[in-house]
Amino acid sequence: MSSVLYDVPGPKAIARNRILGVVTVVVALAILGFFVWRLAATGQFTAEKWSAFTYTNVWIQIGEAALSTLSAFIVAAIGALALGFLLAIGRLSEHAWVRRPFTAVIEVLRAVPVLVFMFLLYYGLPAIGVRMETYWAVVIALIAYNGSVLAEVFRAGVESLPLGQKEAGYAIGLRKSGVMRLILLPQAVRAMMPVIIAQLVVTLKDTALGYIITYEELLFYARYIGSQAALGSPIVPATIVVAAIYIGLCLLLSLVATTVEKRLRRSPRGGVVAGANQPTQEVTDTELIVAQRGLGKFNPGAGGGV
């Protein structure tokens, strides 16, 4: 295997690489061992600490907490996709008086941290008489932020298409809306599918922010069960259980993203639009947007969904 960084290793390099490999394993095992030692030393492996997780009720409540996480995510994901389309079409408009306000809205929504937006909805709006449940504060904040990021993704997808696509659409007599709906957006969505799903993973991750405004999701429940003195205050086991659920859910969604990406690359139509830059590596979506647009036109806006 030849790389830009190193040549095919010779006998000396192979020996050195083996030693470095052993060192890596030793360091990793040392870190892991330290954690296991601390877990054992503070008695986290005792049956008492895990007794909370022997009750059916606790698991039912964990299930409910996971459901409230998922329901916030699903509504937010659908809303964000819809808002993303709307904002993207607005920003792609040929009329400056439509394009400019949409651009401003997208840039502002991307620049404000999601948590600050949640605060605004949950703590700020009651000052003018609008009260909402934590659920809606979480969902609306997620829709606003992820919608604006997805708008940029859709726009990058449309702009990566060759000009000929649009021109051919007009040539066969389609109107502006027809060109957008029948020709540009389907190809853009197809080409950007991995990035779109990656952004949905970000949405799922950000539902955890609801914990801070006391939305009763998984972290909230972990904190609750972890502070039950009658069960031995099992905060460490509760964190481990909740972390496993959260990471599992996100990994599942990421897996979908990589599968879609692989299938796109393999299929004969391939989602590969002639002349369009195809994102092929596993990178952050900001980089993908950069790659799609060509480095020179890098957008001045806020960093994407990290």
């Binding site: 790389s3 960084l5 690489n17 470095l20 980089e287 990290v306």
Partner: protein
């Protein structure tokens, strides 16, 4: 403006807290991310596997969960007392460890943008490994890393607000302090949003000017 001018002390503490989290978290993320990025492109399969495991796990962990683990699960494990500097240090570590994965991916993809032919040509000229790195590969990789790295830093700046949920003073927690003083929360939060938009615009401007200066001519 009264919301700001009457409570300058709280706003100053908040801004300072955000900047400390941003700079310190950024430094941790850059150092750790460079190490992990190097592991991800190293010729040692086991190091590559470790780097991939770390990146894939942490990137699929919500930042709030990382903070949660650092704020609530680590102190009992390590017997930490949550006195003055400890919550701040834990928050910096949480931010750094989370952001490091994005830094690592940025560095890795930056190195991958350098065509293999560049290094092969350099080796063919008889340059040593050190010369190939410092004279040929790194200057090119560095240039294509800067714009996405700035995006990662902008995201880090916005992520510092999460620390507000774990009793670390920053711009995100200004709201809680000022609501105790009876200020209108709507205005307070709107001002926080304005400060963030300004800071992000500043960083984006920096990003654009750096990008223009170091554009890869290829």
């Amino acid at each position: 403006m009264g919301v700001i001018s009457n409570n300058l002390d709280v706003w100053w503490d908040g801004l300072l807290g955000t900047l400390i989290l941003f700079v310190a978290g950024g430094l941790v993320a850059l150092v750790l991310g460079t190490i992990v990025g190097a592991m991800r492109v190293s010729p040692i399969p086991i190091a590559r596997a470790m780097g991939t495991l770390y990146v894939n796990t942490i990137r699929n962990t919500p930042l709030t969960l990382v903070f949660f683990a650092f704020a609530f699960a680590l102190p009992p494990l390590f017997g930490l007392r949550l006195t003055a500097p400890v919550p701040l240090l834990l928050a910096i570590c949480a931010l750094g460890i989370y952001t490091a994965t994005y830094v690592a991916e940025t560095i890795r993809s930056g190195i991958n943008t350098v065509p293999v032919g560049q290094a092969e040509a350099a080796r063919a000229l008889g340059l040593t490994f050190g010369q190939v790195m410092t004279l040929v590969v790194m200057p090119q990789a560095f240039r294509s890393v800067i714009p996405p790295l700035m995006s990662v830093l902008i995201a880090l700046l916005k992520n510092t607000t999460v620390a507000a949920g774990f009793s670390v003073v920053n711009l995100g927690s200004v709201r809680a302090y000022l609501s105790e003083r009876g200020e209108n929360q709507l205005f307070v939060i709107l001002w926080v949003a304005v400060v963030f938009v300004a800071l992000v615009l500043l960083l984006s401007w920096l990003q654009r000017s750096l990008e223009n200066r170091w554009r890869v001519a290829r």
